[in-house]
């Protein structure tokens, strides 16, 4: 298993850079991962990442549709906050595994 150091803390990641242990995540770490992706985190980023983390830790599948039902932001804003591949980027920065859903 690979390891990476963010904000002075060493964390376990898989070969694609996704966290294998979400408990090692912190907001300070998120800032560093986001920087790698060219994203500067705002309150909105944290709010949707909280939603994704809670959903994942609660054992629920993550989908782009669930963002619209999150009550945090709509899908359009989500694409703007994490340009390119939003669900992949957001989960990576939020310290949770890459979603396996096709939706």
């Amino acid at each position: 298993m690979a390891q990476k150091t963010y904000a002075g803390i060493t964390v376990d990641v898989n070969e694609e850079g996704y966290f294998t242990n979400p408990q090692q995540w912190s907001k300070e770490i998120a800032v560093e991962i986001a920087k790698e992706q060219g994203i500067v985190l705002t309150e909105q980023h944290y709010a949707i990442m909280d939603f994704l983390r809670n959903r994942f830790l609660g054992g629920e599948a993550l989908s782009i549709r669930s963002i619209n039902h999150s009550g945090v932001i709509d899908v359009k804003t989500f694409y703007q906050l994490f340009p390119g591949a939003p669900l992949k980027k957001a989960t990576r920065i939020a310290g949770i595994p890459k979603p396996v859903s096709c939706i």
């Binding site: 694609e16 694409y79 669900l87 939706i103």
Partner: protein, 167 residues
């Protein structure tokens, strides 16, 4: 799994020419999946695929139950084609399909278009089919960018790393 590649797909233009639930969702899932990966996506609807972008019909699509040898009854037994002609069979099967898809968090067609276009995906209708079925922009879902000719479709599809997919 690494997806690093020297020739990544940058754009997909997907043609949907049929109006059954499974044909339309195949195109939608591929299109939305592309947008989610940061790939530019166009969906082009033609012939019976026009059902999927016609406001009044888009959320009422059906699955064809006659002449589908892969159709199975609950329990796994193959459904004889003749059973498909029983009144209500098509509606029941379509209802089942939609129920199962909802369990997988697959949205209804109209909502799927909301997600797809929110991510920058584009929807187009075929001019020939619109003329044939007497459909205008007023009949079509508000996310449709335009009724275009096949020539215009190829213009939209052009570019390096671009693929055209006929579902």
């Amino acid at each position: 799994m690494s997806t690093e590649n020297n020739h990544p797909i940058r754009k997909v233009s997907i043609i949907c020419a049929k109006g059954t639930i499974e044909d339309v969702y195949a195109a939608l899932i591929m299109g939305n999946g592309a947008v989610m990966e940061g790939i530019e996506a166009n969906l082009f609807f033609t012939f019976f695929g026009m059902e999927a972008i016609t406001k009044k019909r888009m959320d009422k699509l059906h699955t064809g139950v006659v002449g589908n040898p892969a159709m199975r009854l609950p329990g796994g037994m193959r459904m004889p084609s003749l059973l498909g002609i029983i009144p209500g069979m098509e509606s029941f099967t379509s209802w089942m399909m939609k129920k199962e898809m909802d369990k997988l968090d697959i949205p209804p067609v109209s909502e799927f278009f909301d997600l797809f276009t929110a991510g920058g995906g584009k929807l187009y209708a075929c001019k020939t089919a619109a003329d044939m079925f007497k459909l205008t922009m007023d009949d079509l879902c508000e996310h449709v960018s335009g009724i275009i000719t096949i020539g215009e479709f190829y213009e939209h599809a052009a570019g390096e790393g671009s693929q055209i997919i006929f579902t």
